[in-house]
Symmetry: C2
C-alpha cells in the first residue's frame, strides 16, 4: 500500500514516536545506504544517545545467540525495551542472517518491547558495521533502552562493532580447544565483560579459570575498569542477574566524564567509517580505463594501475 514515497526526514518524528512501520522503513533505507536517507540518519544520530549500546561477540558455537535470547528475557523482566541488531559477516551468503532471524523470532515475536533485525547485506570495508550502527541509532531514537549488536566474532566487523559499543561482551564456550583459546587471548583487548556460556557444563570452571589467569596478566586498563569473567548457564539461567548487574555497572561508570574518551573514540570511528563509504562511492564513479586487460596480461601491475586511477580521481595532472 505504500505507494506514496515518504521522504526519510519525514519518517524521523514517526520513528521517535515509536511507530513500528516507520522504524522498519527507515531501517531498510539505512541498510541500503541510499543518498536520500543520509540527512535523516544525521538527524537521527543527533537525537540519539540514550540507549545502552551493547556489543556481544564470540566465535561460532560459543552460544552467543542463546545468551542474547536469555538476556532479552531478563531485561524485559526489568521492563526495559530491547533491540538486537545481528551482524553476520557471512552476509554475502545471506542464508545465515535469514536463518538467525527465523530462529530467534519465535520467542519474542509477540512482544512489542523487543525488536530483532539481522543485517543480511554486507559490502566491503565497513559497510556492514556502518549500517549496523545506523540501525542502532534508529532503535535508540525509537525508545529502546538497550541495543545489542550481535556479531560472529572472527572478523573485522565485530572488532568494529565492539569499538562502537558502550559495553562489549565476549562469549566463550567451555572446552572449545586451542584454536578458540588463541582467538580468546586476542579478544581480551575488546572485551569489557567476558562470559563463559554453558556454565552448567563440568569443564566451564576450567575455562573460567583460564580466562581469569589471562585477565590477570593483562596490564591495567587506562580507564580503570577491571574486566570480569562471568559464567552464565543459559539453560538454568544462572549468572544472568550478575551479567545484567555488571552491564549496568559498566554503563553507569562510563555514562559521565569518565566515558568521554570512549565516546570520542566512538565518534572518531563513526566519522572514519562513514568517510570511507563516501570516498569509495565517489571513487566508483570514475570511468573505466583499459587497465584491467593490461593487468590480466601482466603488462601492467595492480599498484601502477591503482596509483594511476587514484591520481585521475584526485584530478592530478599526469593522466
Amino acid at each position: 500500500m505504500n505507494r506514496v514515497f515518504v521522504p526519510s526526514l519525514d519518517l524521523v518524528p514517526r520513528v521517535a514516536a515509536g511507530e513500528t512501520a516507520a522504524i522498519a522503513r527507515l531501517m531498510a533505507r539505512a541498510e541500503s545506504g541510499s543518498e536520500e536517507v543520509r540527512a535523516a540518519l544525521g538527524e537521527v544520530y543527533r537525537g540519539a544517545g540514550r540507549a545502552h549500546l551493547i556489543g556481544v561477540t564470540g566465535p561460532p558455537g560459543s552460544g552467543k545467540s542463546t545468551l542474547v535470547g536469555r538476556l532479552i528475557g531478563r531485561l524485559r523482566a526489568l521492563d526495559r525495551r530491547v533491540a538486537v541488531v545481528a551482524v553476520d559477516p557471512s552476509s554475502p551468503y545471506s542464508g545465515g542472517a535469514i536463518l538467525g532471524d527465523r530462529l530467534r523470532m519465535n520467542a519474542h515475536s509477540e512482544d512489542p518491547g523487543v525488536f530483532i533485525r539481522s543485517l543480511a547485506t554486507g559490502g566491503a570495508g565497513g559497510g556492514l558495521s556502518r549500517a549496523a550502527l545506523d540501525l542502532g541509532d534508529i532503535l535508540d531514537v525509537a525508545g529502546f533502552d538497550a541495543v545489542i549488536f550481535e556479531t560472529v566474532g572472527v572478523g573485522q566487523d565485530e572488532v568494529d562493532v565492539a569499538r562502537a559499543s558502550h559495553t562489549t561482551i565476549v562469549v566463550s564456550a567451555p572446552g572449545l580447544g586451542d584454536g578458540i583459546q588463541a582467538i580468546k587471548a586476542g579478544i581480551l583487548e575488546v572485551a569489557d565483560v567476558h562470559v563463559v556460556s554453558k556454565a552448567d557444563r563440568p569443564d566451564a570452571a576450567a575455562t573460567l579459570a583460564d580466562l581469569a589467569i589471562m585477565l590477570d596478566r593483562q596490564p591495567a586498563r587506562p580507564d580503570g575498569w577491571r574486566v570480569p569473567a562471568l559464567g552464565v548457564s543459559s539453560v538454568a539461567g544462572d549468572g544472568l542477574d550478575t551479567l545484567v548487574e555488571t552491564l549496568d555497572r559498566h554503563r553507569t561508570a562510563f555514562a559521565g566524564p569518565a566515558g568521554e574518551a570512549r565516546r570520542a573514540g566512538i565518534a572518531a570511528f563513526r566519522i572514519a567509517r562513514t568517510a570511507d563509504t563516501l570516498l569509495r562511492e565517489r571513487f566508483a564513479t570514475l570511468p573505466p580505463d583499459d587497465a584491467e586487460r593490461r593487468v590480466a596480461a601482466r603488462g601492467l601491475d595492480p599498484y601502477a594501475a591503482a596509483a594511476r586511477r587514484v591520481r585521475a580521481f584526485m584530478g592530478e595532472d599526469d593522466v
Copy 2:
C-alpha cells in the same frame, strides 16, 4: 646481521632465484605495505603468473588446516613445490595466526619444497587480502607450483581471496548443523570444488548428499564448469587423489582462453583493492578537525562530518 638496507627492487632477482632469506624479507615488507616495496611488488606481479593459486575456505572446525596439510603431502609426492598463505581474519587478535604456524610447521618445516606463512596483521577494508595476494605473487615468482590461500571462511576476506584465486575449495565438515548449512548454501557461489572433510565419519554421506542436492538446484555456470562435491578423509587419506585430479582438471580447463574472463575479474579485483588502500592512505594524511568532539556531543552527525572531510580531501570549495 642485515644492517645494510637492501632496496626491495634488488631483492626481486634473488626471490626469483629462490633464495629463502630474500623471499622472507620481501614478504615481510609486502605485509607491512610500505611505499618502498611497491615498485618491487609491481615487478614481482609482472613476472608472476605461473603458479596455481588455490583458495581453501570453510567455517571454523571444518578441518581446513588438516586438509591443507594432507594436500601439501600429496602435491609434494608429485614433486610440486607448495606454499601456503593462511589468512586469519581474527588477526587483530594475532594469537590465532601464530598458533596456526606453529601447529603446521611441525610436519613440513624440514622440507624446502614447502613454505607456510600466516598473515597476522590485518587492517580494515581489504588490507589483509591485499597483502595475501602480494605474498602469493612473491611465492609464484620464487618458483612454487601451487600457492594455497587458507581462510577461515566467514568474512569478507575469504570472499576476496576466493575471488582472486584460480580455483576455490570450500570445505565443510559432516553434521555441523543448520547454521553451517546456511553458510554453505551461500558459499556455493564462490566454490569451484566442494570438499566434505572427515569423510570416514558415518554422517559424511548425508552431508555429501545435501551438497549434491544444493548443487543440482544451482543454475549452470556461465563458464561451463560443473562444481563437484568430494568426500575426503584426512585420517585415512581417501579422496585426496581425486581432489588433486579435480584441481588439475580445473586448472587445465581455465588456463587458456576459457579462463580469460576469470583472469580479467581477478585483475579488476586486485586493482580495486589496491586503489582502496592507496586512497585510504592519502585520506589519512588529512589534518584532523574538531569534528570528533562535536560528533561525540551529538551537535554534528557522522554523515555531515564525513562529507565535510571528503570534500576537504578532494579540494572542494565549501570548506
